[in-house]
């Protein structure tokens, strides 16, 4: 089966999710990936949305972080202060998903402003839950399409901290969690180098070349010593994802 780059990204993000994971899910690609994992290899995965829904099993993808579908299918729904206090800060979330307008080589993210903060060229939506998701979850996956505008050599604003300035900076800031362990793009998967924490390509999606990746990244991207080929989507993965998205499209159009 043919697949799009975006489908590959979602499927690649779904694969490493485990049945035992408790995931803090954002809207968009993370939500698709988490629910794809739930509908394929990780049926008991626990999905949490910051609107307070715990253990939700939506039949369609929510448009917003608080669609009724999330509450209707949840084990329980808690107030938002409790969500951030007992569940996120409480250290109950094993895996958080983030995206952003811009990312740098140490997986720091910007979703706040392009240009100066006080006179922005583009005013982005802001951090929302991201600053504390980045520090409180056991580890972080990031999904973003690879582009020079998104993968930049220096952020205008650090909305949420990945590996800071690299190396052991995260620990020096007092964080005990792993931070970003994977960046899943539409062209490849990157992981932080074990020492420097600089993002490094470890897996390349089918049909993509190293040159395309280098061109699409705003900094001189490094490749790991051993780079593997991302397995192409299986028929089950693709069918499940497309069915989910078709159900979603029909429901939101109604």
């Amino acid at each position: 089966m043919d697949h799009t780059a975006n489908e590959m990204m979602t499927i690649a993000a779904a694969r490493p999710l485990r049945n035992e994971d408790v995931c803090f899910v954002g809207i968009g690609a993370p939500s698709a990936a988490c629910n794809l994992a739930r509908l394929t290899h990780a049926p008991d995965i626990t999905l949490i949305y910051e609107s307070g829904t715990i253990g939700t099993k939506p039949d369609i993808l929510p448009l917003s972080i608080g669609d009724g579908e999330l509450c209707d299918t949840a084990l329980t729904t808690v107030p938002v202060p409790e969500m951030f206090r007992y569940w996120l800060q409480g250290g109950r979330v094993t895996l958080g998903f983030l995206g952003g307008a811009q990312i740098d080589r140490f997986a720091n993210l910007n979703t706040t402003v392009v240009g100066p903060y006080d006179a922005p060229k583009v005013r982005l939506p802001g951090g929302g839950g991201a600053p504390e998701i980045a520090s409180s979850c056991g580890e972080i996956f990031i999904t973003m399409a690879l582009s020079p505008r998104g993968f930049v050599d220096g952020l205008d604003f650090i909305t949420s901290t990945g590996h800071g300035e690299g190396g052991d900076h995260r620990q020096r800031l007092g964080m005990k969690t792993k931070g970003p362990t994977k960046v899943i793009t539409d062209m490849c998967i990157m992981e932080p180098d074990p020492e420097t924490k600089e993002l490094t390509v470890v897996s390349i999606h089918p049909g993509v070349t190293r040159e395309q990746i280098t061109e699409a990244c705003g900094w001189p991207i490094r490749f790991a010593g051993e780079v593997v080929d991302t397995p192409a989507p299986t028929a089950e993965e693709l069918t499940t994802l497309r069915d989910l998205q078709e159900r979603t499209r029909r429901a939101h159009a109604a």
Binding site: I27, G28, E50, S51, G52, T53, P62, L63, S64, I65, G66, D67, G68, L70, C71, T77, P79, V80, P81, M83, F84, R85, L88, Q89, N108, T112, Y117, D118, P120, V122, R123, P125, G126, G127, G128, G129, A130, P131, E132, S135, S136, F157, I158, T159, S160, T161, G164, H169, R170, L173, G174, M175, H252, A253, A254
Partner: protein, 281 residues
């Protein structure tokens, strides 16, 4: 004891020019009808608090109600930007909007601290994040036992909180269910509160012993406005109108299409216009 009244009177009596106002609702139960009434009554110089400004604040900001916005995520969920918010921030239209920006965790804790009558909230947050550099209301506090440094923000204590709830009984006790967000905290943190509800019933009926209920003596005014959360939704009554959220994007992109829409759909209408979105309508 809450006063059962009309929406127009509730806003007239409780929202004043220059007030700090929070209108909460985390996707669910956003008080659109009440926001439109504030616009119709031409309130000015408001300081608006809301974690996720959403379309209702885009509309209020575009109509010039607000001098300042305190928020943590300002987008059209799943769709894109809030164009009126951006126009105000980036180009000062209809006038300059001051912003004070936080994270969700900060604001959720700040509402909690407000409800708890504390002067500030503390949490483990903003580590390595630039927001702490541009917002002087993000400070630090040191644990007197471990020496750990934590983030501190002021409690939110607005003049008035406005929320939409499912139902109230005739005494004015208010029931919230489903995604309850920070609305209980917002009401308890505020000096005054206005609650719109889907329906006013004789009594709240068989609810869980731990149901989320605001007793009548914690609420100032209640107005029955069926459908009043539309295009947000009311658990068990009607669903979120996702198509409206998508349709808002092109309307809000330009000032003239925005103003024309507001005239037709808000200024020339009243709370009754929401009835068609209510259950069974």
């Amino acid at each position: 004891m809450a006063r059962l009244t009309s929406l127009a009177e509730a806003i007239e009596e409780n929202v004043r020019d220059g007030d700090s106002v929070t209108m909460e609702g985390f996707t669910h139960l956003i008080p659109f009808a009440a926001g439109h009434e504030v616009i119709r009554q031409q309130r000015k110089h408001l300081t608006l608090y809301r974690m996720t400004p959403d379309l209702i604040y885009d509309q209020m900001i575009g109509m010039g109600c607000a001098d300042k916005l305190v928020f943590s995520w300002g987008g059209n969920p799943g769709v894109g930007s809030l164009h009126r918010l951006r126009d105000a921030v980036e180009r000062g239209w209809p006038h300059q909007l001051e912003i004070e920006e936080h994270s969700h965790a900060a604001m959720a804790n700040a509402y909690d601290a407000g409800a708890a009558n504390l002067p500030f909230a503390m949490f483990r947050g903003y580590i390595g994040a630039d927001l702490a550099k541009v917002n002087p209301n993000i400070r630090q506090i040191t644990c007197p036992f471990t020496g750990e440094t934590l983030a501190a923000v002021p409690a939110i204590r607005p003049d008035v909180a406005i929320i939409h709830a499912l139902k109230a009984d005739k005494k004015g006790n208010v029931l919230l269910e489903g995604i309850v967000g920070v609305q209980k905290e917002a009401v308890l943190a505020a000096k005054r509160s206005v609650v719109t509800v889907e329906e006013i019933v004789e009594d709240l009926g068989a609810v869980s012993p731990n149901a989320i209920i605001l007793p009548t003596w914690t609420v100032t005014a209640i107005a029955e406005v069926p459908g009043g959360a539309h295009p947000s939704y009311a658990h068990g009554y009607y669903k979120r109108d996702n198509a409206y959220y998508k349709a808002w994007d092109p309307i809000a992109r330009e000032r003239d299409t925005f103003l024309a829409w507001m005239k037709d759909n808000v200024l020339d209408k009243g709370p009754d216009a929401y009835a068609r979105y209510a259950r069974g309508a």
